[in-house]
């Protein structure tokens, strides 16, 4: 029982996903390289926050409306208020009455300000990665459906970050295939495609892999009905469907992702998108993982995945850091 010989690892990946603008989770993500002795960090999409919260400044106090609740704090508590707003996956913007009014009435202005806040944060994160990451540790960040396409050039331009979205990327003994596209969601985000189109996009990436190579599929969308894709069913008004006093839970993953994994059999599938559906499931020989996300609690959920010299998968472990 205890007498086996552990297989020697050639590569350790630390994978996390869906941190939605949480500064604290990103700092933890960078710290994971040292804590878990990872050779490569992979952040699998949905790194941008979910919205912009204007903070109204008046008479030495700050007021904001966060998820339906009004909060007023003294100006001295600005940092704490902004941190709390960020914890929930939102950006904050201090504004006077006129600007708040414009933010509430001009959707285009809100979109531009929101995108600016996202880019500003990601540029800051890229600088942080540059400062904190040890030499030799690779840091791969790919976008997800909640990330505007405007962040792609920012990530690609960062010297310490790699962002091989829609490409194959050599990662030690394995090839990393990355795609942040998903099937249509109720929120109409930027990277949504019907199943057929998504299948084509995924196959286009995987077809480039030489025969016999070991591929790790970093696909943001989880495979349909795999246990990694269970989420609350929503009605037309985006409210959870309640049956028998409880939210109805349904699979919301992609059939295209499932079929592609069945067909190409990557050694490991790294997925996210559905925060509450943390789990592991084998599809054929492919070990598919969704570490889930709990960024609102400042907790970084992730998975350590080890590979042997020739790229074969050794083992994984879910982490809560």
């Amino acid at each position: 029982m205890f007498g086996g010989r552990p297989r020697k690892r050639a590569l350790r990946i630390y994978f996390a996903t869906d941190i939605h603008g949480s500064d604290r989770c990103f700092r933890k993500f960078l710290a994971a390289a040292e804590s878990y002795e990872a050779d490569a960090l992979v952040l699998g999409g949905d790194i941008a926050g979910k919205g912009l919260v204007p903070i109204r400044s008046h008479n030495g106090s700050l007021s904001a409306r966060v998820r339906g609740e009004s909060v007023t704090v003294p100006r001295a508590d600005e940092e704490r208020l902004r941190t709390e707003i960020n914890r929930m996956g939102f950006y904050s913007l201090i504004a006077d009455a006129r600007e708040v009014e414009r933010l509430e009435s001009d959707p285009q202005y809100v979109t531009a300000a929101f995108e600016l806040a996202i880019i500003d944060q990601i540029q800051g994160w890229c600088r942080l990665a540059d400062e904190r990451l040890a030499e030799g540790v690779r840091c791969i960040i790919t976008p997800g459906n909640d990330d505007p396409k405007a962040i792609d050039p920012v990530l690609k331009a960062a010297p310490r970050i790699e962002s091989p979205e829609g490409e194959l990327c050599e990662l030690g003994p394995v090839l990393l295939a990355s795609c942040g596209d998903v099937t249509p969601t109720p929120w109409n985000t930027e990277r949504e495609y019907p199943e057929e189109e998504l299948a084509r996009r995924l196959e286009k990436i995987l077809d480039q892999a030489p025969a016999g190579s070991k591929v790790v599929a970093n696909f943001h969308c989880p495979p349909y009905g795999s246990g990694l894709d269970f989420a609350a069913e929503l009605d037309d008004q985006l409210r959870p469907v309640i049956r028998g006093g409880r939210p109805s839970i349904v699979p919301v993953g992609s059939k295209a992702v499932r079929e592609v994994i069945k067909k190409y059999q990557p050694v490991v599938g790294l997925h996210g998108h559905i925060h509450e559906s943390r789990g592991a499931q084998k599809i054929g020989a492919a070990m598919c993982l969704n570490p889930g996300s709990d960024y609102t609690a400042d907790v970084l959920r992730g998975a350590i995945v080890d590979f042997a010299e020739h790229g074969s998968y050794i083992d994984f472990l879910f982490t809560t850091g």
């Binding site: 029982m1 604290r24 710290a31 028998g244 083992d315 472990l317 879910f318 982490t319 809560t320």
Partner: protein
């Protein structure tokens, strides 16, 4: 009801084996509670008439106080003793038929509930890699964790064979104390949580927890629950004739179950280290954000 209270029924959702869990759960609950009330009340009235309340209470008392003596006079388990005696002693065939149907039905319902719980707990542990990943495999055909069910059924058969040779009443005599200790542990954790991780219970937009005399309100609720749980533990310990007597085997079983967690963790960690390159202790290592 206990399973519902503990949230165990959420485990059914994971495999998606109930297509419409909300509706099915509601109907099943109402139906089973209705049947339970009718059957058990009817049988209790019949038994009270045929056997008498004194006899029913004395057999239950004997089962709780002296499992050895109880085991010598019958092979029926103490928990099933009332109905078992009812089946043996009731005079009219109508009562015999009713009791004869009720006993296996109730046992089957309890067994099915516990098989469901055990298999889903195994499934969840396998998901987190504390058990072999094969136990988390969901059948594509019927969406149930097949491997976990097979292991649970084999374990159940072994346990049933064991029960035929050993008087289990001795071992499980302190079940009430076990439940009370679990509640006590939860209450202590609830008292400490607002001090250790207030962020986990803050509402959106809040920056501080409400306090009374400088103490967070959730901690006060936790402290009140702790006091009540301590009272319950004290009552259970001082009334063995009601809640189950103490013996070496019952206390030993209690210690074994309560201490099993860390021991299983250490064994799992060593087993994993012997064949894998990942140390299990990394799973809960807190990452420094700064």
């Amino acid at each position: 009801m206990v399973l519902n209270y503990n949230g165990v029924l959420y485990a059914y959702y994971v495999g998606g084996e109930l297509k419409r869990p909300g509706r099915t759960y509601l109907y099943a609950s109402i139906l089973s509670i209705g049947i339970l009330v009718v059957v058990w009340t009817g049988i209790w009235l019949l038994m009270r008439n045929n056997i008498g309340l004194d006899f029913m209470q004395s057999q239950a008392q004997l089962g709780a106080n002296s499992p050895d003596a109880y085991g010598k006079i019958t092979t029926l388990q103490a928990s099933a003793g009332g109905l078992g005696y009812g089946l043996v002693l009731s005079g009219d065939p109508f009562s015999k038929i009713l009791i004869g149907i009720a006993v296996p039905c109730a046992e089957l319902a309890v067994d099915l509930a516990f098989v469901a719980v055990v298999t889903r707990v195994m499934f969840a542990l396998a998901f987190d890699r504390l058990l072999p990943i094969g136990l988390a495999k969901i059948s594509e055909r019927n969406a149930v964790p097949t491997n976990a069910i097979v292991v649970a059924v084999i374990g159940g058969i072994v346990f049933a064979i064991l029960a035929a040779f050993v008087n289990l009443a001795n071992i499980v005599a302190n079940l009430s104390l076990f439940v009370a200790l679990i509640i006590l542990a939860g209450a202590v954790a609830a008292t400490a949580l607002p001090f250790r991780r207030p962020d986990l219970i803050l509402k959106p937009g809040q920056t501080e927890l409400a306090r009374v005399a400088g103490v967070p309100v959730p901690a006060l609720w936790g402290a009140a629950t702790t006091v009540l749980a301590l009272i319950v533990v004290a009552i259970i310990v001082t009334h063995p004739s009601v809640f189950g007597s103490f013996s070496v085997s019952s206390v030993g079983a209690l210690v074994l179950v309560l201490g099993a967690g860390p021991v299983i963790y250490l064994i799992a960690r060593q087993m994993r280290l012997s064949r894998s390159s990942i140390d299990l202790r990394l799973a809960m290592r807190e990452l420094p954000p700064e």
